[in-house]
Amino acid sequence: MTHIGAVALNTFREAVRDRVLYNLVFFALLMIGAAILVGQISIGIEQIVIVSLGLSAISFIGLLMAVFIGVGLVSKEMDKRTIYALLAKPVRRWEFLVGKFAGLIFTLVVNTAAMSAGLFLALAYVKHGLQSADAGVLVAVYFILLKLSIVVALALLFSCSTTSLLSILYCAGLYLAGSFVQQMRTLRTDLMGNATATFMRWLSYLLPNFENFSVTGPVAHGVAIPGSLILQNTLYAAVYCTVILAVAAAVFSRRNLK
Protein backbone atom coordinates (compact mmCIF):
# COMPACT_ATOMS: atom_id res chain seq x y z
CA MET A 1 0.00 0.00 0.00
CA THR A 2 1.34 3.40 -0.88
CA HIS A 3 2.12 5.96 1.77
CA ILE A 4 -0.71 8.18 0.57
CA GLY A 5 -3.08 5.24 0.69
CA ALA A 6 -2.03 4.33 4.22
CA VAL A 7 -2.67 7.87 5.47
CA ALA A 8 -5.96 8.04 3.59
CA LEU A 9 -7.22 4.78 5.00
CA ASN A 10 -6.32 5.84 8.51
CA THR A 11 -8.11 9.16 8.03
CA PHE A 12 -11.22 7.30 6.93
CA ARG A 13 -10.94 4.95 9.88
CA GLU A 14 -10.72 7.92 12.23
CA ALA A 15 -13.89 9.42 10.81
CA VAL A 16 -15.73 6.14 11.19
CA ARG A 17 -14.56 5.63 14.76
CA ASP A 18 -15.42 9.20 15.63
CA ARG A 19 -18.95 8.26 14.72
CA VAL A 20 -19.13 10.92 12.05
CA LEU A 21 -21.20 8.66 9.85
CA TYR A 22 -24.07 8.77 12.31
CA ASN A 23 -25.23 11.86 10.46
CA LEU A 24 -26.71 9.40 8.00
CA VAL A 25 -29.34 8.53 10.56
CA PHE A 26 -30.47 12.13 10.64
CA PHE A 27 -30.54 12.26 6.87
CA ALA A 28 -32.54 9.06 6.66
CA LEU A 29 -35.12 10.42 9.04
CA LEU A 30 -35.32 13.63 7.07
CA MET A 31 -35.91 11.82 3.80
CA ILE A 32 -38.50 9.52 5.29
CA GLY A 33 -40.35 12.41 6.83
CA ALA A 34 -40.26 14.37 3.62
CA ALA A 35 -41.41 11.44 1.53
CA ILE A 36 -44.38 10.87 3.74
CA LEU A 37 -45.35 14.49 4.14
CA VAL A 38 -44.94 15.54 0.56
CA GLY A 39 -47.58 13.13 -0.58
CA GLN A 40 -50.05 14.80 1.71
CA ILE A 41 -49.25 18.39 0.93
CA SER A 42 -48.57 18.90 -2.72
CA ILE A 43 -49.79 17.49 -5.96
CA GLY A 44 -47.56 17.11 -8.97
CA ILE A 45 -44.41 18.53 -7.48
CA GLU A 46 -43.30 15.59 -5.34
CA GLN A 47 -40.28 15.11 -7.55
CA ILE A 48 -39.21 18.70 -7.26
CA VAL A 49 -39.57 18.79 -3.51
CA ILE A 50 -37.82 15.50 -2.80
CA VAL A 51 -34.99 16.22 -5.18
CA SER A 52 -34.48 19.81 -4.01
CA LEU A 53 -34.70 18.89 -0.37
CA GLY A 54 -32.51 15.84 -0.74
CA LEU A 55 -29.82 17.61 -2.72
CA SER A 56 -29.83 20.55 -0.34
CA ALA A 57 -29.45 18.23 2.62
CA ILE A 58 -26.68 16.25 0.96
CA SER A 59 -24.89 19.45 0.11
CA PHE A 60 -25.34 20.96 3.56
CA ILE A 61 -24.35 17.89 5.55
CA GLY A 62 -21.44 17.31 3.22
CA LEU A 63 -20.35 20.88 3.70
CA LEU A 64 -20.46 20.57 7.48
CA MET A 65 -18.35 17.44 7.32
CA ALA A 66 -15.92 18.92 4.86
CA VAL A 67 -15.36 22.03 6.92
CA PHE A 68 -15.38 20.64 10.44
CA ILE A 69 -13.33 17.56 9.74
CA GLY A 70 -11.23 19.34 7.15
CA VAL A 71 -9.95 22.07 9.42
CA GLY A 72 -8.80 19.44 11.89
CA LEU A 73 -7.00 17.23 9.41
CA VAL A 74 -3.58 18.61 10.16
CA SER A 75 -4.11 20.86 13.16
CA LYS A 76 -5.56 18.04 15.23
CA GLU A 77 -2.52 15.88 14.61
CA MET A 78 -0.30 18.75 15.57
CA ASP A 79 -2.25 19.58 18.72
CA LYS A 80 -2.40 15.98 19.83
CA ARG A 81 1.25 15.43 18.94
CA THR A 82 0.45 12.35 16.94
CA ILE A 83 2.18 13.84 13.95
CA TYR A 84 5.70 13.54 15.35
CA ALA A 85 5.93 9.79 15.21
CA LEU A 86 4.35 9.79 11.78
CA LEU A 87 6.69 12.27 10.14
CA ALA A 88 9.63 10.37 11.60
CA LYS A 89 8.72 7.60 9.21
CA PRO A 90 9.97 7.64 5.63
CA VAL A 91 6.96 9.62 4.43
CA ARG A 92 7.17 13.02 2.79
CA ARG A 93 5.11 15.85 4.13
CA TRP A 94 3.23 16.32 0.90
CA GLU A 95 2.36 12.61 0.86
CA PHE A 96 0.87 13.08 4.29
CA LEU A 97 -1.23 16.00 3.10
CA VAL A 98 -2.49 14.28 -0.01
CA GLY A 99 -3.29 11.21 2.06
CA LYS A 100 -5.35 13.28 4.47
CA PHE A 101 -7.15 14.92 1.58
CA ALA A 102 -7.90 11.60 -0.07
CA GLY A 103 -9.10 10.12 3.21
CA LEU A 104 -11.66 12.83 3.83
CA ILE A 105 -12.79 12.77 0.22
CA PHE A 106 -13.29 9.05 0.51
CA THR A 107 -15.29 9.53 3.70
CA LEU A 108 -17.47 12.08 1.91
CA VAL A 109 -17.95 9.76 -1.05
CA VAL A 110 -19.12 6.95 1.20
CA ASN A 111 -21.40 9.26 3.14
CA THR A 112 -22.82 10.85 0.02
CA ALA A 113 -23.37 7.50 -1.68
CA ALA A 114 -25.40 6.33 1.28
CA MET A 115 -27.42 9.53 1.26
CA SER A 116 -28.01 9.27 -2.46
CA ALA A 117 -29.33 5.77 -2.02
CA GLY A 118 -31.72 7.13 0.56
CA LEU A 119 -32.74 9.92 -1.78
CA PHE A 120 -33.47 7.54 -4.60
CA LEU A 121 -35.49 5.35 -2.30
CA ALA A 122 -37.59 8.31 -1.22
CA LEU A 123 -37.97 9.41 -4.81
CA ALA A 124 -39.00 5.95 -5.93
CA TYR A 125 -41.54 5.88 -3.13
CA VAL A 126 -43.27 9.13 -4.05
CA LYS A 127 -43.11 8.57 -7.76
CA HIS A 128 -43.97 4.91 -7.55
CA GLY A 129 -40.90 3.97 -9.55
CA LEU A 130 -37.95 5.65 -11.20
CA GLN A 131 -37.24 6.71 -14.75
CA SER A 132 -33.98 7.08 -16.58
CA ALA A 133 -34.31 10.85 -16.40
CA ASP A 134 -33.78 10.57 -12.66
CA ALA A 135 -30.16 9.70 -13.35
CA GLY A 136 -29.69 13.44 -13.48
CA VAL A 137 -29.78 13.34 -9.71
CA LEU A 138 -26.57 11.29 -9.76
CA VAL A 139 -24.92 14.03 -11.78
CA ALA A 140 -26.08 16.62 -9.28
CA VAL A 141 -24.65 14.51 -6.44
CA TYR A 142 -21.38 14.14 -8.32
CA PHE A 143 -21.24 17.90 -8.71
CA ILE A 144 -21.78 18.30 -4.99
CA LEU A 145 -18.81 16.03 -4.39
CA LEU A 146 -16.70 18.11 -6.77
CA LYS A 147 -17.68 21.23 -4.90
CA LEU A 148 -16.87 19.60 -1.57
CA SER A 149 -13.47 18.52 -2.80
CA ILE A 150 -12.54 22.16 -3.30
CA VAL A 151 -13.83 22.99 0.17
CA VAL A 152 -11.79 20.14 1.65
CA ALA A 153 -8.67 21.38 -0.12
CA LEU A 154 -9.21 24.85 1.29
CA ALA A 155 -9.89 23.48 4.78
CA LEU A 156 -6.69 21.46 4.57
CA LEU A 157 -4.73 24.53 3.55
CA PHE A 158 -6.00 26.45 6.55
CA SER A 159 -5.47 23.45 8.78
CA CYS A 160 -1.75 23.60 7.99
CA SER A 161 -1.40 27.22 8.83
CA THR A 162 -3.78 28.41 11.48
CA THR A 163 -6.03 27.51 14.39
CA SER A 164 -9.28 25.62 14.04
CA LEU A 165 -11.55 28.54 14.80
CA LEU A 166 -9.94 30.82 12.26
CA SER A 167 -9.90 27.99 9.73
CA ILE A 168 -13.62 27.50 10.10
CA LEU A 169 -14.26 31.20 9.65
CA TYR A 170 -12.05 31.42 6.57
CA CYS A 171 -13.66 28.37 5.04
CA ALA A 172 -17.15 29.65 5.69
CA GLY A 173 -16.18 33.04 4.31
CA LEU A 174 -14.68 31.60 1.17
CA TYR A 175 -17.67 29.34 0.67
CA LEU A 176 -20.02 32.31 0.87
CA ALA A 177 -17.82 34.36 -1.42
CA GLY A 178 -17.61 31.48 -3.86
CA SER A 179 -21.37 31.18 -3.93
CA PHE A 180 -21.81 34.77 -4.97
CA VAL A 181 -18.96 34.96 -7.41
CA GLN A 182 -21.38 34.86 -10.30
CA GLN A 183 -22.92 38.09 -9.06
CA MET A 184 -19.53 39.73 -9.11
CA ARG A 185 -19.41 39.47 -12.85
CA THR A 186 -22.71 41.27 -13.35
CA LEU A 187 -22.15 44.02 -10.85
CA ARG A 188 -22.71 47.43 -12.31
CA THR A 189 -19.18 47.99 -13.50
CA ASP A 190 -20.18 51.29 -15.04
CA LEU A 191 -20.77 52.56 -11.54
CA MET A 192 -17.24 51.81 -10.30
CA GLY A 193 -13.84 53.02 -11.27
CA ASN A 194 -11.78 51.18 -13.85
CA ALA A 195 -9.32 49.74 -11.35
CA THR A 196 -12.05 48.44 -9.08
CA ALA A 197 -13.89 46.89 -12.01
CA THR A 198 -10.80 45.07 -13.24
CA PHE A 199 -9.97 43.92 -9.74
CA MET A 200 -13.48 42.57 -9.25
CA ARG A 201 -13.33 40.75 -12.54
CA TRP A 202 -10.02 39.09 -11.74
CA LEU A 203 -11.24 38.21 -8.29
CA SER A 204 -14.37 36.66 -9.70
CA TYR A 205 -12.29 34.28 -11.77
CA LEU A 206 -9.74 33.46 -9.11
CA LEU A 207 -12.16 32.74 -6.30
CA PRO A 208 -13.64 29.27 -6.44
CA ASN A 209 -16.96 29.49 -8.22
CA PHE A 210 -19.29 27.11 -6.48
CA GLU A 211 -22.20 28.05 -8.64
CA ASN A 212 -20.60 26.05 -11.44
CA PHE A 213 -21.76 23.00 -9.58
CA SER A 214 -25.35 24.00 -8.91
CA VAL A 215 -27.76 22.18 -11.16
CA THR A 216 -30.53 21.50 -8.66
CA GLY A 217 -33.08 23.48 -10.68
CA PRO A 218 -32.66 21.68 -13.99
CA VAL A 219 -32.30 18.28 -12.33
CA ALA A 220 -35.44 18.75 -10.27
CA HIS A 221 -37.30 19.44 -13.50
CA GLY A 222 -35.79 16.41 -15.20
CA VAL A 223 -33.53 18.33 -17.57
CA ALA A 224 -30.47 16.39 -18.70
CA ILE A 225 -27.04 17.76 -17.89
CA PRO A 226 -24.70 17.90 -20.90
CA GLY A 227 -21.60 15.71 -20.77
CA SER A 228 -19.37 18.61 -21.65
CA LEU A 229 -20.39 20.42 -18.47
CA ILE A 230 -19.60 17.31 -16.46
CA LEU A 231 -16.15 17.18 -18.02
CA GLN A 232 -15.46 20.88 -17.55
CA ASN A 233 -16.53 20.84 -13.93
CA THR A 234 -14.41 17.77 -13.22
CA LEU A 235 -11.39 19.48 -14.72
CA TYR A 236 -12.14 22.69 -12.86
CA ALA A 237 -12.29 20.91 -9.52
CA ALA A 238 -9.18 18.87 -10.30
CA VAL A 239 -7.11 21.89 -11.30
CA TYR A 240 -8.33 24.00 -8.40
CA CYS A 241 -7.62 21.28 -5.86
CA THR A 242 -4.17 20.72 -7.30
CA VAL A 243 -3.35 24.39 -6.96
CA ILE A 244 -4.59 24.58 -3.38
CA LEU A 245 -2.81 21.38 -2.38
CA ALA A 246 0.41 22.64 -3.95
CA VAL A 247 0.21 25.77 -1.85
CA ALA A 248 -0.61 23.71 1.24
CA ALA A 249 2.37 21.45 0.61
CA ALA A 250 4.63 24.46 0.20
CA VAL A 251 3.36 26.02 3.41
CA PHE A 252 3.55 22.82 5.39
CA SER A 253 6.96 21.69 4.22
CA ARG A 254 8.64 24.61 5.95
CA ARG A 255 6.52 24.56 9.04
CA ASN A 256 8.31 24.05 12.36
CA LEU A 257 6.25 21.58 14.33
CA LYS A 258 5.87 22.75 17.85
Binding site: M1, H3, A6, N10, R13, E14, R17, D18, K80, R81, T82, Y84, A85, L86, L87, A88, K89, P90, V91, R92, R93, R254, N256, L257, K258
Partner: protein, 323 residues
Protein backbone atom coordinates in the same frame (compact mmCIF):
# COMPACT_ATOMS: atom_id res chain seq x y z
CA UNK B 1 20.18 2.62 -0.04
CA UNK B 2 22.71 1.43 2.50
CA UNK B 3 23.51 3.51 5.48
CA UNK B 4 27.01 4.79 5.51
CA UNK B 5 29.02 2.57 7.80
CA UNK B 6 32.26 4.35 7.86
CA UNK B 7 31.21 7.79 9.03
CA UNK B 8 29.57 8.76 12.26
CA UNK B 9 25.96 7.86 12.80
CA UNK B 10 25.08 11.38 13.81
CA UNK B 11 27.00 14.50 13.01
CA UNK B 12 26.08 18.09 13.66
CA UNK B 13 27.94 21.24 12.76
CA UNK B 14 27.15 24.47 14.56
CA UNK B 15 23.52 23.62 14.79
CA UNK B 16 21.54 26.61 16.01
CA UNK B 17 17.85 27.19 16.59
CA UNK B 18 16.33 30.54 17.40
CA UNK B 19 12.68 31.26 17.98
CA UNK B 20 11.40 34.73 17.27
CA UNK B 21 8.75 35.94 19.68
CA UNK B 22 7.10 39.01 21.00
CA UNK B 23 5.58 41.90 19.14
CA UNK B 24 6.30 41.64 15.43
CA UNK B 25 8.59 38.72 16.25
CA UNK B 26 11.47 41.04 16.89
CA UNK B 27 12.89 39.32 19.93
CA UNK B 28 14.66 36.01 19.66
CA UNK B 29 14.93 33.13 22.02
CA UNK B 30 17.90 30.88 21.38
CA UNK B 31 17.03 27.37 22.37
CA UNK B 32 20.12 25.78 20.80
CA UNK B 33 23.40 27.43 20.07
CA UNK B 34 26.23 26.17 17.94
CA UNK B 35 25.92 22.48 18.67
CA UNK B 36 28.78 20.51 17.14
CA UNK B 37 28.64 16.85 17.98
CA UNK B 38 29.49 13.39 16.68
CA UNK B 39 27.92 10.13 17.65
CA UNK B 40 29.84 7.13 16.36
CA UNK B 41 28.26 4.03 14.95
CA UNK B 42 27.48 1.46 17.59
CA UNK B 43 27.72 3.67 20.62
CA UNK B 44 25.10 4.55 23.16
CA UNK B 45 25.11 8.28 23.59
CA UNK B 46 23.27 10.00 26.41
CA UNK B 47 22.02 13.52 26.03
CA UNK B 48 21.78 15.11 29.44
CA UNK B 49 20.49 18.40 30.61
CA UNK B 50 17.85 20.06 32.72
CA UNK B 51 14.40 20.71 31.35
CA UNK B 52 14.42 23.33 28.64
CA UNK B 53 18.11 22.85 27.90
CA UNK B 54 17.49 22.10 24.26
CA UNK B 55 17.66 18.31 24.18
CA UNK B 56 14.29 17.84 22.58
CA UNK B 57 15.00 20.71 20.23
CA UNK B 58 18.16 19.00 19.08
CA UNK B 59 16.40 15.73 18.54
CA UNK B 60 13.57 17.34 16.61
CA UNK B 61 16.12 19.11 14.45
CA UNK B 62 17.76 15.78 13.72
CA UNK B 63 14.44 14.23 12.78
CA UNK B 64 13.48 17.04 10.44
CA UNK B 65 10.47 18.05 12.50
CA UNK B 66 11.84 21.55 12.94
CA UNK B 67 14.36 23.40 10.83
CA UNK B 68 17.63 24.93 12.01
CA UNK B 69 18.22 28.65 11.96
CA UNK B 70 21.78 27.88 10.96
CA UNK B 71 24.20 24.99 10.90
CA UNK B 72 23.78 21.50 9.53
CA UNK B 73 23.21 17.97 10.68
CA UNK B 74 23.67 14.59 9.08
CA UNK B 75 22.24 11.25 10.02
CA UNK B 76 23.95 8.15 8.69
CA UNK B 77 25.81 10.36 6.26
CA UNK B 78 22.74 12.00 4.74
CA UNK B 79 21.31 15.47 5.50
CA UNK B 80 18.37 15.60 7.85
CA UNK B 81 16.09 16.75 5.04
CA UNK B 82 16.40 13.35 3.39
CA UNK B 83 13.13 11.78 4.43
CA UNK B 84 13.92 8.46 2.81
CA UNK B 85 16.65 8.08 5.40
CA UNK B 86 13.97 7.61 8.03
CA UNK B 87 13.83 4.06 6.80
CA UNK B 88 16.91 3.45 8.89
CA UNK B 89 16.03 5.55 11.91
CA UNK B 90 13.76 4.83 14.81
CA UNK B 91 12.33 7.72 16.82
CA UNK B 92 10.49 7.91 20.09
CA UNK B 93 9.02 11.37 20.69
CA UNK B 94 8.86 12.79 24.19
CA UNK B 95 5.41 12.32 25.70
CA UNK B 96 4.23 10.16 22.88
CA UNK B 97 0.61 10.28 21.88
CA UNK B 98 -0.86 8.12 19.29
CA UNK B 99 -4.20 7.85 17.68
CA UNK B 100 -6.40 7.11 20.64
CA UNK B 101 -9.10 5.52 18.52
CA UNK B 102 -6.71 2.79 17.40
CA UNK B 103 -5.48 -0.23 19.28
CA UNK B 104 -1.77 -0.80 19.86
CA UNK B 105 -1.70 -3.44 17.18
CA UNK B 106 -3.40 -1.10 14.71
CA UNK B 107 -1.04 1.77 15.45
CA UNK B 108 2.00 -0.42 14.92
CA UNK B 109 0.49 -1.87 11.80
CA UNK B 110 -0.23 1.64 10.48
CA UNK B 111 3.31 2.82 11.03
CA UNK B 112 4.68 -0.37 9.60
CA UNK B 113 2.94 0.37 6.33
CA UNK B 114 5.42 3.09 5.58
CA UNK B 115 8.30 0.64 5.38
CA UNK B 116 7.30 -1.47 2.41
CA UNK B 117 7.07 -4.74 4.26
CA UNK B 118 4.85 -7.47 2.96
CA UNK B 119 1.58 -7.88 4.81
CA UNK B 120 2.80 -11.10 6.34
CA UNK B 121 6.05 -9.55 7.47
CA UNK B 122 4.16 -6.64 8.96
CA UNK B 123 1.90 -8.88 11.00
CA UNK B 124 4.82 -10.81 12.38
CA UNK B 125 6.78 -7.75 13.32
CA UNK B 126 3.80 -6.18 15.06
CA UNK B 127 3.27 -9.29 17.15
CA UNK B 128 6.94 -9.53 17.96
CA UNK B 129 7.11 -5.92 19.06
CA UNK B 130 4.02 -6.16 21.22
CA UNK B 131 5.58 -9.12 22.95
CA UNK B 132 8.91 -7.40 23.34
CA UNK B 133 7.44 -4.42 25.13
CA UNK B 134 5.07 -6.55 27.14
CA UNK B 135 1.81 -5.45 25.50
CA UNK B 136 0.65 -8.65 23.87
CA UNK B 137 -2.46 -8.91 25.99
CA UNK B 138 -3.36 -5.27 25.61
CA UNK B 139 -2.91 -5.30 21.87
CA UNK B 140 -6.62 -5.13 21.10
CA UNK B 141 -7.54 -2.33 23.49
CA UNK B 142 -7.90 1.20 22.18
CA UNK B 143 -5.08 3.48 23.13
CA UNK B 144 -7.39 5.94 24.79
CA UNK B 145 -7.53 3.47 27.64
CA UNK B 146 -3.80 3.10 28.05
CA UNK B 147 -1.77 4.39 30.97
CA UNK B 148 1.22 6.62 30.38
CA UNK B 149 3.59 3.74 30.89
CA UNK B 150 1.78 1.64 28.34
CA UNK B 151 1.87 4.48 25.84
CA UNK B 152 5.58 4.82 26.38
CA UNK B 153 5.98 1.17 25.53
CA UNK B 154 3.96 1.54 22.38
CA UNK B 155 6.24 4.41 21.51
CA UNK B 156 9.29 2.28 21.97
CA UNK B 157 7.76 -0.51 19.93
CA UNK B 158 7.03 1.75 16.96
CA UNK B 159 10.56 3.11 17.15
CA UNK B 160 12.25 -0.24 16.69
CA UNK B 161 9.60 -2.00 14.67
CA UNK B 162 11.60 -1.79 11.47
CA UNK B 163 14.89 -2.82 13.02
CA UNK B 164 16.73 0.46 12.34
CA UNK B 165 20.46 0.76 12.80
CA UNK B 166 20.05 4.15 14.48
CA UNK B 167 17.59 4.70 17.29
CA UNK B 168 16.81 8.11 18.74
CA UNK B 169 14.80 8.20 21.94
CA UNK B 170 13.54 11.40 23.55
CA UNK B 171 13.17 10.81 27.28
CA UNK B 172 12.43 7.10 27.00
CA UNK B 173 12.18 6.59 30.75
CA UNK B 174 9.82 9.42 31.50
CA UNK B 175 6.62 8.44 33.22
CA UNK B 176 7.75 4.91 33.91
CA UNK B 177 7.87 3.19 37.25
CA UNK B 178 11.09 1.42 38.26
CA UNK B 179 9.92 -1.80 36.66
CA UNK B 180 9.21 -0.02 33.43
CA UNK B 181 12.52 1.77 33.53
CA UNK B 182 14.30 -1.48 34.07
CA UNK B 183 12.56 -2.97 31.04
CA UNK B 184 13.50 -0.03 28.85
CA UNK B 185 17.07 -0.23 30.05
CA UNK B 186 17.13 -3.88 29.11
CA UNK B 187 15.82 -3.13 25.66
CA UNK B 188 18.42 -0.46 25.14
CA UNK B 189 21.15 -2.84 26.22
CA UNK B 190 19.79 -5.47 23.89
CA UNK B 191 19.86 -3.01 21.01
CA UNK B 192 23.37 -2.08 21.89
CA UNK B 193 24.46 -5.69 21.86
CA UNK B 194 22.91 -5.99 18.42
CA UNK B 195 25.24 -3.25 17.24
CA UNK B 196 22.71 -0.41 16.95
CA UNK B 197 23.59 3.18 17.56
CA UNK B 198 21.44 4.78 20.22
CA UNK B 199 20.98 8.39 21.15
CA UNK B 200 18.69 9.09 24.03
CA UNK B 201 18.00 12.11 26.10
CA UNK B 202 17.22 12.05 29.77
CA UNK B 203 17.55 14.04 32.90
CA UNK B 204 17.80 10.93 35.06
CA UNK B 205 21.53 10.70 35.63
CA UNK B 206 21.95 7.24 37.09
CA UNK B 207 20.38 5.78 33.94
CA UNK B 208 22.88 7.66 31.82
CA UNK B 209 25.81 6.54 33.94
CA UNK B 210 24.70 2.97 33.65
CA UNK B 211 23.94 2.78 29.95
CA UNK B 212 26.00 5.23 28.03
CA UNK B 213 29.35 4.92 26.38
CA UNK B 214 29.47 8.67 26.19
CA UNK B 215 27.30 11.53 27.35
CA UNK B 216 26.84 15.10 26.24
CA UNK B 217 25.64 17.69 28.70
CA UNK B 218 23.44 20.44 27.37
CA UNK B 219 22.72 23.42 29.55
CA UNK B 220 21.00 26.59 28.42
CA UNK B 221 21.20 25.55 24.77
CA UNK B 222 24.94 25.06 24.80
CA UNK B 223 26.94 21.87 24.90
CA UNK B 224 29.00 22.00 28.06
CA UNK B 225 30.88 18.78 27.85
CA UNK B 226 31.13 15.50 25.98
CA UNK B 227 32.80 12.30 27.01
CA UNK B 228 32.52 9.04 28.92
CA UNK B 229 30.47 9.47 32.07
CA UNK B 230 33.53 8.92 34.11
CA UNK B 231 35.83 11.18 32.10
CA UNK B 232 33.48 14.01 31.76
CA UNK B 233 33.68 14.94 35.29
CA UNK B 234 37.24 15.89 34.54
CA UNK B 235 38.29 16.08 38.05
CA UNK B 236 40.89 13.79 39.41
CA UNK B 237 39.75 11.00 41.58
CA UNK B 238 40.10 12.00 45.11
CA UNK B 239 41.55 8.79 46.41
CA UNK B 240 40.20 5.47 47.53
CA UNK B 241 37.66 4.53 50.08
CA UNK B 242 38.12 1.37 52.14
CA UNK B 243 35.26 -0.20 53.97
CA UNK B 244 36.24 -2.62 56.71
CA UNK B 245 35.04 -4.31 59.85
CA UNK B 246 36.88 -4.83 63.11
CA UNK B 247 36.18 -7.31 65.85
CA UNK B 248 36.38 -5.94 69.32
CA UNK B 249 39.49 -7.87 70.20
CA UNK B 250 41.51 -6.40 67.41
CA UNK B 251 43.42 -3.30 67.89
CA UNK B 252 46.40 -1.60 66.43
CA UNK B 253 46.51 0.53 63.37
CA UNK B 254 45.36 3.21 65.78
CA UNK B 255 46.21 6.18 63.58
CA UNK B 256 44.19 4.65 60.75
CA UNK B 257 41.29 3.87 63.01
CA UNK B 258 41.26 7.36 64.27
CA UNK B 259 40.93 8.66 60.70
CA UNK B 260 38.12 6.30 59.88
CA UNK B 261 34.46 7.02 60.24
CA UNK B 262 32.51 4.48 62.19
CA UNK B 263 29.11 3.31 61.10
CA UNK B 264 27.82 0.67 63.45
CA UNK B 265 30.41 -2.07 63.36
CA UNK B 266 31.88 -0.93 60.08
CA UNK B 267 34.48 1.64 59.36
CA UNK B 268 34.98 3.80 56.34
CA UNK B 269 38.42 5.12 55.65
CA UNK B 270 39.54 7.49 52.91
CA UNK B 271 43.14 7.40 51.83
CA UNK B 272 44.99 9.14 49.00
CA UNK B 273 45.68 6.97 45.94
CA UNK B 274 49.33 6.31 46.60
CA UNK B 275 48.79 5.25 50.20
CA UNK B 276 46.16 2.65 49.51
CA UNK B 277 48.34 -0.44 49.63
CA UNK B 278 50.11 0.73 52.77
CA UNK B 279 46.78 1.28 54.48
CA UNK B 280 45.52 -2.11 53.38
CA UNK B 281 48.65 -3.74 54.78
CA UNK B 282 48.12 -1.98 58.10
CA UNK B 283 44.54 -3.07 58.29
CA UNK B 284 45.45 -6.62 57.43
CA UNK B 285 47.96 -6.67 60.27
CA UNK B 286 45.30 -5.26 62.55
CA UNK B 287 43.15 -8.18 61.60
CA UNK B 288 40.46 -6.08 60.00
CA UNK B 289 38.09 -7.64 57.53
CA UNK B 290 38.16 -5.69 54.27
CA UNK B 291 34.67 -5.30 52.91
CA UNK B 292 35.24 -3.12 49.85
CA UNK B 293 37.67 -0.83 48.14
CA UNK B 294 36.37 1.80 45.73
CA UNK B 295 37.49 4.97 43.96
CA UNK B 296 36.15 8.27 45.19
CA UNK B 297 35.10 10.60 42.47
CA UNK B 298 32.53 13.33 42.29
CA UNK B 299 29.29 11.98 40.81
CA UNK B 300 27.84 13.06 37.56
CA UNK B 301 25.14 14.67 39.60
CA UNK B 302 27.47 17.01 41.35
CA UNK B 303 29.10 17.96 38.09
CA UNK B 304 25.70 18.51 36.59
CA UNK B 305 24.46 20.72 39.40
CA UNK B 306 27.64 22.73 39.15
CA UNK B 307 27.06 23.35 35.44
CA UNK B 308 23.44 24.30 35.95
CA UNK B 309 24.31 26.73 38.68
CA UNK B 310 27.00 28.30 36.50
CA UNK B 311 24.57 28.72 33.64
CA UNK B 312 21.95 30.29 35.85
CA UNK B 313 24.47 32.70 37.28
CA UNK B 314 25.44 33.77 33.80
CA UNK B 315 21.84 34.20 32.77
CA UNK B 316 21.16 36.36 35.77
CA UNK B 317 24.25 38.42 35.06
CA UNK B 318 23.06 39.02 31.53
CA UNK B 319 19.64 40.03 32.75
CA UNK B 320 21.00 42.36 35.32
CA UNK B 321 23.37 44.00 32.92
CA UNK B 322 20.46 44.47 30.59
CA UNK B 323 22.16 43.00 27.57
Amino acid sequence: MRASESGPAIETENLTKEYPYGFLHLKKKTSLEGLTLRVETGEVFGFLGPNGAGKSTTIKLLMGLIFPTSGRARLLGKPTTDVAMHRHIGYLPEQPYFYDYLTAAEVLDYFAKFFDFTAQDRRERVQRMLKKVGLETAGKIQLRKYSKGMLQRVGLAQAILHDPPLVILDEPMSGLDPVGRREVRDIILELKRAGKTILFSTHILPDAEMLCDRVGVLVGGKLQGVGAPGDIVGIQAQGMEILFALTASQSGGAPLLAAATRIGDRYRLQVPDGEMYAALEQLREAGAKILSVSQIKPSLEEYFMHLVAADRAQATAIEVSGK
